[in-house]
């Protein structure tokens, strides 16, 4: 059953997820003004699946059940599926100009599906069947699932088992006949509060001493012992201002990250996907990271599309659209954005089947994709700010533009003065100009900059993580042989 956005939001109200923000528990988190834009963002992934104009990207036929499912819960069956995933992400970015949060679950499904298959093959465990049953339930209920990988990690120079505080990496604290008890936390969790379930995965490759840290499982987001502490975003409290609209930049949509704490959470056997087989932790991490690095070649491109459009509008509103340097900057933005998309499509086109049957991306190209994503959005935002002008960060507030307070010699109000001095080209009203500038501010350095800038740098692994993979996958020895062959070195 494909839920609508409204049904999804209602389904969240039935959850008993524990959420904390600004040092207090948030009971009505679904309607909280800071949280709600991020929920609206996920809801779009449901509504688009019902729209015939988008259904070809937003839905797929499940290989597990034969039913039509939301592509966010699909196991990729071909390179065509991999490409459609990227296109879907671009579409969702275009519709929200924010992080729509549902990719982490999709990337976790595909990584855990193939890793459990290979783990079972070596150890005779039952993880793959566990996972398939779990995913069937997710597909049938059309749930959002958070793919939780990043541990707090403590001292980066020490292995999980060598940390001063063992909880700095998620670990098994008790093994029972009917399941395991886990303790730890996952940091920077995108969309965690908006998820019905979580899939937890290890954060890095593990050695034998760390086998209790090689753990993967699923649990509902309101499992006993689980709670979330909301992450602050730049300018977040603007959302608490009464009647806030223009100053928010993007009133409707936004992203979400939080710290998720697992305080002795019991996981029944049927939801365990890895529990001590440490030699498969690295495989799960590498596969998840690969898919997630592919994802960024879609989602960030979609947000980039909107930002480029906003910059072009700002130029028009400023009356500068005919200036050759403005045109050239917009071309450069498009070039950078489409280069990212090229990478997302390329690593998908060069995908291949795993032993379990689902498709994975070309790992080298996916890492090149994400490496570019760590750079180009910064260039694109710089150009957007250049085109927009300094007013995007210096203009008075929305309340000033609407103020009736008389301040002028002839009885002019603050609103009159703001509208007089910030009017520009006749093609727009002053409010329209304000709206587009605040929108650019929101993406470049406001709450959506979390998703478009810093997440581009650190999400799915920081730049150095990709460089390590590029080094491993780059076939430097093969390239040396090419040079030797041409110049005659044996």
């Amino acid at each position: 059953m494909l839920m609508t956005g409204a049904q999804y939001i209602e389904s969240l109200r039935k959850m008993k997820t524990r959420v904390y923000m600004f040092g207090e528990e948030v009971k009505d988190w679904v309607d909280h003004p800071i949280i709600r834009p991020s929920i609206n963002c996920v809801a779009i992934t449901y509504d688009l699946a019902h729209d015939p104009e988008y259904a070809d990207l937003m839905t797929a036929k499940s290989n597990l059940t034969g039913e039509t499912v939301n592509r966010f819960s699909h196991l990729h069956q071909s390179t065509e599926d991999l490409k459609k995933k990227v296109k879907m992400q671009r579409l969702c970015g275009q519709k929200t100009a924010s992080c729509f949060q549902r990719c982490v679950g999709m990337d976790a499904f595909n990584a855990v599906f193939s890793t459990t298959y290979e783990t079972d093959k070596k150890y005779g465990t039952n993880y793959h069947e566990n996972f398939k049953n779990f995913l069937k339930m997710v597909q049938e209920k059309d749930y959002v699932v958070d793919g939780a990988m990043t541990d707090p990690k403590g001292d980066r120079g020490l292995a999980p088992s060598a940390q001063r505080d063992p909880d700095l990496f998620m670990h098994i604290v008790e093994r029972r006949e009917d399941g395991i008890v886990v303790r730890g936390a996952k940091a920077h969790q995108t969309g965690t509060i908006n998820s019905h379930w979580h899939i937890v995965m290890p954060t890095q490759a593990m050695k034998e001493a760390d086998k209790d840290y090689a753990v993967s499982f699923a649990c509902p987001s309101d499992a006993e012992g689980m709670y979330m502490i909301y992450g602050r975003q730049s300018c977040d409290t603007r959302k608490l201002e009464e009647g806030a609209d223009v100053d928010l930049g993007n009133k409707q949509f936004g992203g979400q990250e939080a710290l998720v704490v697992f305080d002795n959470v019991f996981i029944p056997n049927e939801y365990i996907f890895l529990a001590g087989e440490y030699d498969f932790a690295g495989m799960m991490v590498e596969r998840f990271a690969g898919y997630h690095r592919q994802s960024y070649g879609g989602c960030k491109v979609g947000v980039g599309d909107v930002l480029i459009g906003a910059a072009a509008l700002a130029a028009e509103y400023n009356g500068a659209q005919k200036a050759s340097h403005i045109k050239d900057k917009l071309i450069e933005m498009i070039h950078l954005n489409e280069t990212l998309y090229c990478c997302g499509i390329a690593c998908s086109s060069e995908g291949h089947p795993t032993l379990a049957g689902n498709y994975e991306i070309d790992l080298l190209l996916a890492n090149v994709c994400k490496q570019n994503v760590t750079r180009f959005p910064y260039d694109i935002t710089r150009l957007a700010e250049d085109i927009a002008g300094g007013l995007m960060v210096t203009m008075p507030s929305e309340k000033d533009f609407k103020s009736d307070l008389k301040v002028g010699r002839n009885g002019e109000t603050i609103g009159d003065i703001c509208n007089k001095y910030f009017a520009a080209a006749p093609s727009c009203t002053t409010e329209e100009r304000m709206r587009i500038l605040r929108f650019i501010e929101n993406i470049c350095l406001g709450s959506s900059a979390v998703g478009y800038r810093t997440e581009s740098l650190h999400g799915a692994g920081s730049p150095q993580a990709q460089r390590i993979m590029i080094s491993r996958q780059g076939n430097l020895e093969g390239k040396k042989e090419l040079a030797k062959a041409i110049v005659g070195i044996k």
């Binding site: 015939p52 104009e53 988008y54 070809d56 990207l57 036929k61 459609k84 296109k87 579409l91």
Partner: protein
């Protein structure tokens, strides 16, 4: 005649695909256009893509006759003529 319609997913369309369909519905009188669903049989199928790739999947639809494709707004007049003659 019943004509199923399948859109591509619209990741970066170069024209308004929905508007194009509404224009075709207005100007083509011999066909009933409906969004294609699996399990139904259609006399014709119209695939509307947002770019030349026209990547919409449609193999799973049951179509008795011709499959038409539109991926550029400049093709719309010729397509309408063809559909009207069909």
């Amino acid at each position: 005649m019943k004509c199923g319609v399948r859109f591509c997913g619209g990741c970066n369309p170069r024209f308004d695909r929905g508007k194009a369909l509404r224009e075709i519905e207005r100007d083509v009188n011999n066909m009933d256009f409906t969004h294609a669903v699996e399990g139904e049989t259609y006399d014709r199928l119209l695939v509307i893509g947002g770019c030349a790739n026209c990547c919409a999947s449609y193999d799973h639809f049951d179509v008795k006759g011709k499959i038409y494709k539109l991926w550029d707004y400049s093709q719309i007049d010729d397509l309408k003529k063809e559909l009207n003659k069909d």
